[in-house]
């Protein structure tokens, strides 16, 4: 048997000699280029066939097992198998290591910069006035109001007379109102919609009228000759100024947060009596007047922001719409959307609203 054993040891010897050419690979593997590593892997798989395949020396050696004396056959068999295992393990080990390395290199090569911009078409932007109008409309619809709009070119009756603004009233002087060559007015307030809505719907009603209005103001940072107003009207039995205050407070809270406070100051409008202006606590400084240690900009340090006018609908206006002021009372309020937009977005020049400059428009969503 020693002869056969000698033969096997010889096979092992030959393998080790030939395998020694891969000896360095283990240590230098991390320096290999991908192509060298792939060539090596190919070489090793051929090497594996040569040393472990059907025609390999070790396969031949297995045939010797039958020639050994039966009592030694077991021991010899185990010996041959252990040599074979040694060879296979050595080759597989190296092969596995190369395979792992090649995968790593390939993965590294396909690594992407995940911080690069996404791939998607540019998305457009709604106009800030649309965005704000929609938010406010949503609030009022949820509070039971109907949204209404109507004509932009109006008769003096709807723009003035029906609103208790008689001829000769300062608010009616033509320096504020645009007139067409046929003597019609571009509506100077959305209150015209109050009248038309009351004529259509009668009382009781709850209506919000957002719309475009026109006044002959020369454009500057805070004036434009065309702007948008939102006007609210609620007519019912038993409506009081407390309802007016509550309604204005409620929608401003829904827009600016639950801690928003409002106040009303006496004022004068021909179409309301009593009349008031309403302010709300500044959303930026929470009504403190200072923001980050400096005088707050939106409220000019007062803590209050003036927003619009309001009041109890003048009995003459109700009568003009065939609503009996002895049975019904109502409140109305109105404010400018551009001004509110400018406040919310810290915009210092409202002329940008109608320039349609994309650099401006794309700042809003």
């Amino acid at each position: 048997m020693s002869e056969q054993k000698q033969q096997v040891l010889e096979i092992k010897n030959i393998f080790e000699q030939e395998f020694s050419r891969f000896a360095d690979v283990r240590n230098t593997i991390n320096n290999l280029s991908l192509s060298v590593a792939e060539n090596l892997r190919h070489e090793i798989s051929e090497f594996k066939i040569k040393h472990t395949g059907k025609k390999s020396l070790i396969a031949e050696a297995k045939k010797l097992i039958g020639r050994v004396a039966p009592e030694e056959r077991g021991t010899f068999g185990q010996f041959v198998q252990s040599v074979e295992k040694e060879i296979v393990t050595a080759i597989d080990g190296l092969e596995e290591k190369l395979k792992t390395y090649i995968n790593e290199v390939k993965t590294a090569r396909e690594a992407i910069d995940v911080t690069l911009p996404a791939r998607r078409p540019r998305v457009g932007h709604l106009h800030p006035l649309t965005l704000l109008r929609q938010r406010i409309e949503d609030i009022f619809v949820s509070m039971g109001y109907a949204i209404e709009d109507d004509r932009e070119i109006e008769t003096d009756y709807y723009n003035f007379d029906a609103l208790n603004i008689p001829e000769g009233h300062p608010a009616r002087e033509s320096q504020d109102t645009f007139y067409t060559t046929t003597g019609l007015a571009l509506r100077s307030q959305t209150s015209t919609v109050q009248i038309r809505a009351m004529e259509r719907r009668g009382a009781p009603l709850r209506v919000i009228a957002p719309g475009r209005v026109f006044r002959r103001d020369t454009p500057d940072m805070t004036h434009v000759p065309m702007f948008h107003q939102i006007e609210g009207l609620c007519v019912d039995k038993g409506i009081t100024m407390a309802h007016l205050k509550g309604t204005v407070a409620e929608w401003l809270r829904r827009l600016f947060g639950k801690d928003t406070k409002i106040r009303m100051r006496p004022s004068y409008f021909p179409f309301t009596e009593p009349s008031a202006e309403f302010d709300f606590s500044c959303f930026k400084c929470d009504g403190t007047g200072t923001f980050e240690g400096e005088r707050c900009r939106p409220c000019k340090g007062s803590g209050w922001i003036e927003l619009g006018g309001c009041g109890m609908v003048h009995p003459n206006v109700l009568k003009n719409c065939n609503v009996d002021p002895e049975i019904y009372s109502g409140f109305a309020f109105g404010f400018g959307l551009e001004r509110m937009c400018a406040l919310m977005y810290a915009l210092d020049d409202i002329r940008y609203m109608f320039d349609n400059d994309v650099r401006f428009l794309e700042q809003f969503r």
Binding site: E137, S142, Y179, D236, E250, P266, P315, D357, L361
Partner: protein, 688 residues
């Protein structure tokens, strides 16, 4: 308006600090915009509403404070005699415009600068001192609210006054040294010969107080408010006097104001009081207003006792003959021109009780809210366009007349028969922009130019808005029609990427319209090649809905591009949104899914460029083969290897039965017939 703190304290018994006074005034509706220190005084800058002419003086403001702070007012008595030896001193010829006129003669005055205290008072409220007599008239106006005028008596012809309307061609040089001519509706103060002042507006230069003046005629009068407003506007003379007369002064306070000024002139200009005349032909009618006390709560929600309400009104000068039982009747004080109904009294009480005391309640809820009928669809439309990369534009409704006849307008907007087919403003604030826009396109092209000027070359914008036109029937108000317009130019853009993609073209524009139609849930539009005024020939189409023209689409022509200095193609579309939104929306009905496989065939045709894709599709559909379930677009090719007037169109035909699997021969037969028809009918040649 400026009000001095020290001056107020002369008139009311109060210890309130400037801050406290400011807070109180703001609370009752006399908004104090600022408190400015001046020497040893403080000046309130008060923003008065136009109805409160009675508060255009220190006395008026003091009266409000006396009500809110419940303190007394100081009224100085006068011992001046009110007799007149000369009844012809003043004649009022037009009592409809001059309701009351008082005149006082003061002799032997010495014109000189005013004493320092008077100069300081005037300076504190922003008034410039001139001389003692002029300063006194100014001072008393700011104290008591009645404008007045001092004439040099010796410069008045016959030393008398005639109040009358101007005569044709009458002229006078006013105090501001401007020669003015008057129209017959203007009221003048004249002597026996000529005008010496524009009543209630400004005095004449010739009869004004000068250093030589020794005898003065002091006028304190009341003029009709509307008349003063008109005269002041027409002459372009906005004076402090006119400002007060327009808003209404206290007609019952003339004598007091006259006496106050006379006494000051005696004291500061060492004059001697002479004749006094008071002519009062047009008496003010007393106004009484009924107040049902419960109306205060009904309108404001405030709980105010009847006694407190009456106290406030009394302090404000309202007199009540009847307080109980209800309703109370209050007489409106002569200085209040803004009170005529019960609600006005409610406001007086409410603002003095304080709007801060008004509760915060929501009205009882009724019914559900609702958007405007098409608001939700327009919301979807806007959102869809934004998702497609369009920014929303809002442009001015008035545009320049130079845009007239530049654009083909949507059908049925303008009545070409009319002489004035567009709505036009009498004048504008923005130069040239007097036309109410009949199209959204001019605004959108202006916007493109704005963006080009800012190096923004890739622009996609849309706008929803009204256009205007004269109605055919002149009795009707102008037409207002809501349109949808869009403009696009440049290349495809991507979020966060500077490099643009493919150049946008006609089909991107058409795609955007399709997205819009999907968003408002309508069937698709049809496109028909047509020459359109503002569009480039061959890249223009009219847009139809159910056979009816609703707008246009295409590339802006070279001529317009040149005027806008556009150096790249710009595409626009405009449709009549209002008409489309009135159409019936798509209804969705389920179609059973087919159990049998389809056979598809792609075919390319060589066609003349004048043959449209729609014609090819139509030819297939017209043959009405049930088994041909669908025909769709694959590709189009023009250019290399193709004659200039030809293009290649590839379509896909899909054959299927709902009952069985089709056999090859059956499909082949129908397919052959369809292709043959396309070839014969359209002169197309199949390409392989």
């Amino acid at each position: 308006m400026n009000i001095s703190y020290n001056w107020l304290k002369d008139l009311i018994e109060t210890d309130l600090t400037p801050q406290e006074i400011a807070e109180n005034l703001t609370k009752i509706g006399l908004a104090v915009e600022g408190i400015h220190p001046f020497a040893n005084d403080f000046v309130f800058d008060i923003d008065l509403t136009s109805n409160r002419g009675d508060c255009l003086s220190h006395w008026g403001v003091a009266r409000e404070i006396s009500a809110i702070a419940d303190c007394g007012l100081r009224i100085a008595d006068s011992n001046l005699e009110r007799n007149s030896a000369n009844p012809d001193l003043v004649t009022i010829q037009d009592a409809d415009l001059c309701h009351r006129f008082t005149a006082r003669i003061i002799k032997n005055v010495k014109i000189k600068p005013s004493p320092e205290w008077l100069v300081k008072r005037l300076e504190a409220i922003g008034q410039r001192a001139v001389n003692n007599v002029a300063d006194i008239t100014n001072y008393v106006m700011h104290e008591l609210g009645n404008p007045m005028h001092a004439f040099d008596l010796n410069k008045l012809a016959e030393k008398r006054i005639v109040v009358r309307r101007a005569r044709v061609g009458e002229k006078m040089q006013t105090l501001d040294e401007v020669e003015r001519s008057f129209s017959e509706d203007m009221l003048l103060i004249c002597d026996s010969e000529k005008p010496v002042a524009v009543g209630g507006v400004m005095g004449g230069l010739h009869s004004s107080i000068s250093d030589e003046t020794t005898d003065v005629l002091l006028e304190v009068a009341y003029f009709k408010r509307d008349s003063i407003r008109q005269t002041s506007r027409k002459l372009g003379l906005a004076t402090e006097a006119a400002y007060r007369f327009e808003r209404g002064v206290d007609i019952e306070n003339l004598i007091r104001a006259s006496n106050r000024a006379t006494e000051l002139i005696i004291e500061l200009a060492s004059g001697v009081a002479g004749d006094f005349v008071d002519i009062y032909p047009t008496k003010r009618e007393e106004i009484s207003v009924e107040l049902r006390y419960e109306k205060i709560k009904a309108l404001t929600g405030l709980d105010v006792s009847n006694e407190e309400a009456a106290r406030i009104l009394t302090k404000l000068g309202f007199k009540s003959a009847i307080r109980n039982p209800q309703p109370a009747i209050f007489t409106v004080p002569t200085w209040r021109h803004d009170i005529s109904i019960e609600q006005d009294l409610v406001e007086e009480v409410a603002r003095h009780v304080g709007y801060d005391k008004i509760g915060v309640e929501l009205p009882p809820s009724v019914g559900a809210g609702e958007y405007q009928p098409n608001e939700v669809r327009k919301f979807h439309l806007r959102q869809a366009l934004a998702n497609l990369g369009f920014d929303e534009a809002i442009s001015y409704s008035f545009i320049d007349t130079k845009n007239d006849d530049t654009f083909e307008l949507i059908p049925d907007l303008v009545d070409e028969e009319l002489e004035e087919k567009f709505v036009t403003l009498q004048d504008s604030i923005i130069e040239g922009a007097v036309r109410m826009r009949p199209s959204l396109l001019s605004g959108l092209l202006d916007a493109v130019r704005t963006n080009f000027n800012h190096q923004r070359k890739d622009v996609k914008l849309f706008e929803l808005g009204k256009v205007f036109a004269t109605a055919s029937n002149e009795m009707d108000l102008p037409k207002e029609q809501e349109l949808f317009g869009l403009v696009l130019t440049g290349g495809e853009t991507f979020e966060g990427k500077s490099m643009t993609g493919r150049e946008l073209d006609f089909f991107d524009t058409k795609g955007a319209l399709e997205v819009a139609m999907d968003a408002i849930n309508l069937p698709s539009l049809q496109y028909k090649p047509k020459e359109i005024k503002h569009l480039r020939k061959g890249q223009a189409a009219e847009i139809l809905f159910n056979g009816r023209t609703v707008g246009s689409i295409g590339r802006i022509n070279d001529e317009i591009s040149a005027t806008y200095k556009f150096r790249q193609p710009v595409y626009v579309a405009e449709i009549d949104l209002q008409t489309l939104l009135a159409e019936k929306e798509n209804a969705v009905f389920y179609k059973p899914l087919s159990k049998f496989p389809a056979v598809t065939r792609d075919v390319s045709f060589l066609v003349k460029r004048t043959t449209s894709y729609t014609e090819i599709i139509q030819t297939v559909q017209d043959q009405g083969f049930d088994l041909c379930k669908n025909v769709s677009f694959v590709d189009v090719y023009e250019g290399k290897g193709m004659a200039d007037d030809e293009r290649s169109v590839t379509i896909r035909l899909e054959y299927r039965s709902d009952e069985r699997t089709l056999i090859e021969a059956e499909v082949e037969e129908i397919h052959r017939q369809i292709l043959a028809e396309i070839e014969t009918k359209l002169g197309a040649k199949q390409r392989f």
